[in-house]
Symmetry: C2
Subunit: 201 residues, 2 copies
């Protein structure tokens, strides 16, 4: 106890601790509740400490966002695996994972898609957002009809899922219960994909 929590200087992994603190704050208070000082307090550190690691709030947000995209990716993969192994089941999992993530982690989705994509593309190393996108891309791949391209199918599916999630989580679909929302979104995506695939066959 003496060494563990009270080393005072040299926290050890403050950078990650601050990111974790940020995630917690987003879950509890949403995007508006996020500040450098709150993250520092939650991580048990003086309020000036975060500047050493992130520079400013935008830096922290980017780091939090990257971690959130990682969680997002995991959530989709896990949901996909829970559904089954064929192409449709995997895609259904993506839909469910996306929507559930939006419902359960509205604050995270807000930072993730609140920052412009350029904030990620600027980073030299391949960012976590791309990793998430790859999951979607792979799930869409089996449904690309002959006359089309993967990009077109991805954009279409992504737009549909993303729009549905945003509108549903902000209460635009009335009191549609979560379970039905799940199914409804999937049905829509399937209808969309069927139409694409049906054309050439």
């Amino acid at each position: 106890m003496s060494q563990n929590t009270k080393t005072k200087h040299h926290h050890g992994d403050l950078k990650n601790a601050l990111i974790s603190a940020g995630l917690d704050i987003l879950e509890e208070n949403g995007l508006d509740g996020l500040s450098l000082r709150k993250c520092a307090a939650k991580a048990g550190v003086s309020h000036a400490a975060p500047a050493h690691h992130f520079g400013n709030l935008d830096g922290l947000k980017e780091a939090i966002s990257a971690r959130a995209f990682g969680l997002f990716r995991e959530a989709m993969i896990q949901a996909a695996e829970a559904e089954g192994s064929d192409d449709r089941a995997r895609l259904k999992g993506i839909c469910r994972g996306y929507l559930r993530f939006g419902l359960n982690h509205k604050g995270l989705l807000d930072v993730m898609f609140g920052l412009p994509a350029s904030a990620f593309l600027k980073a030299s190393k391949v960012p976590d957002e791309s990793d998430s996108y790859a999951v979607l891309r792979e799930a869409c791949a089996p449904f690309v009809p002959e006359g089309s391209t993967p990009e077109i199918v991805e954009v279409q599916v992504w737009s549909l899922i993303h729009g549905f999630t945003q509108l549903y989580t902000s209460g635009r679909f009335g009191d549609l219960p979560e379970k039905d929302a799940d199914q409804g979104l999937f049905d829509q995506v399937i209808a969309l994909l069927d139409s694409l695939s049906a054309a050439p066959s």
Copy 2:
């Protein structure tokens, strides 16, 4: 000049002036730049004045949002009329109007969809958000296939357009130029609707 701008007390239409000021601020500085004090300053009035009309910032936001939904509706209608008079042309106009509005007035879309829908549904009189939705609904009506319902088609089209707009305006589709985005979105909606309508015919 003496009477017109310097009556000091009793602005006359301060409520609307504050809403207009809010719209300007949203266009210039985005959602984060919006505050009661800035709206008051922009309207040329003391910073405590807005409280008389809106109570707090959320009240102002709702009023701004209502006005923005009105502009949104007009933008869609105008774009639809510019396209032509048949069903497809009208729907294409809706797509274009929606996307353009998102591109040109990102700040407005942020308040409009940043507030939960319940903020509008609470209002006793039919809110402007419903008026906007009616435009979408009417445009979708001719494309409801026999086995489906208007609601399903609306949700699907709305999700697709909304998601596309959000993702595109935050830079998620790379450097896709605006003109192509317009066409791409419309193509997608048409493909979606064709698939729905084609099934029964």
